[in-house]
Symmetry: C2
Subunit: 215 residues, 2 copies
């Protein structure tokens, strides 16, 4: 039973990786920069899209989004209100997007009218890690209110992300979170990660972050 | 491939349920009330144990805990500092505890010296739902800082919990969270759920919650 499990898991990841490579080709062919946006529930993933989309317009770039959630369309409705192309993808029960779901999401987007596509994953610090989607890079958002041990508890997600965002910096003192510890833990797990501190309620810190998103 | 997947999944749940029933028997035999404690990262699961353990002592009851995390011992160290019997269980990569991990955790606990055992699951609103552990009841903690749409996004976890805690009520205005919406969503998904509002920084609201925990 255990051996069968492992075999199935390997097949699953291989199939996902192959489809992710196809998604990557497709995005490239349409000149779309895909960003896999990760983080816990309520960390600020949707708020980050709300902040970045208008800044992209200022630079003559057009945003689009895939809103991934287990259930419902709360995030999708916020993103659609920005007036950018967006699709809602419900996983039903799974705690992460996979390349197959993103493939279907891409079918429903006008890719030639999008320069930067945010693929907002399910709010989860564990499950999405092993599932490549075809995005050019990964960005992970944590917030001070999750506790300053949140990074230490989740090595894998930081190892696979090139941008780390520490959000809700304004609430750090109130909840007793040590932002320096969070940043230190990110760099310990991934010395290459670029770290940014934001307050997405006000937009503080978003400008420098945009440069990193565009690479 | 898909059919094989489904078959494996069914076997997995059946094996877990059988082991969970054994855990339940074992807890009952030692007179231990097991509580499966669920919620997102940083929602306040560990803080709730920190608040409830001393209140249990006042009632002549002894607490114990299993601290589940993907990685590290941040929660375990906080719980051990309470002076109650506790074990740390790392899942390595899995986003939830299962009955097998809890079985091993029970091996390392002095069950005859524990009246109420908190089984703190991995911080996750999705994965733990389908895995029974052998606890007598489930309690799920959400916090205002996760956004007031956090309940709507996760129907399953509320359907399987008999107690719902809305924590960080003091930050609700600051983050613009509608606590009434959160409570409404909980009752919509589970009309039987008992809902409590807490501020675990001060202990506000914990007394009435304890009565529900002890049932």
């Amino acid at each position: 039973m255990h051996l069968v499990d492992v075999r199935i898991e390997k097949d699953l990841y291989e199939a996902n990786d192959a489809l992710a490579a196809e998604n990557a080709d497709r995005l490239r062919a349409h000149g779309v920069l895909g960003i896999d946006l990760l983080g816990a529930i309520g960390s600020g993933k949707t708020a980050l899209i709300e902040r970045l989309a208008p800044l992209l317009v200022e630079r003559g770039l057009r945003a689009g989004a895939i809103a991934g959630d287990v259930y419902g369309d709360d995030d999708y409705r916020r993103i659609a209100a920005l007036g950018i192309p967006a699709v809602n993808v419900n996983t039903g029960k799974e705690c992460h997007l996979d390349a197959h779901l993103v493939d279907h999401g891409l079918d429903d987007l006008p890719l030639d009218e999008i320069d930067v596509l945010f693929i907002e994953n399910v709010g989860n610090m564990v499950c999405p890690t092993d599932f490549a989607l075809g995005a050019a890079r990964r960005m992970v958002v944590v917030s001070s209110t999750e506790g300053d041990d949140v990074v230490n508890k989740h090595p894998m997600i930081f190892r696979s992300s090139s941008i780390g965002v520490i959000n809700k910096v304004d609430l750090a003192d109130l909840v007793g979170a040590d932002l320096d510890r969070m940043e230190r833990d990110m760099r310990r797990y991934n010395p290459e990660i670029r770290v940014f501190r934001t307050n997405l309620k006000t937009g503080e810190g978003v400008g420098p972050l945009l440069d990193a998103v565009l690479g």
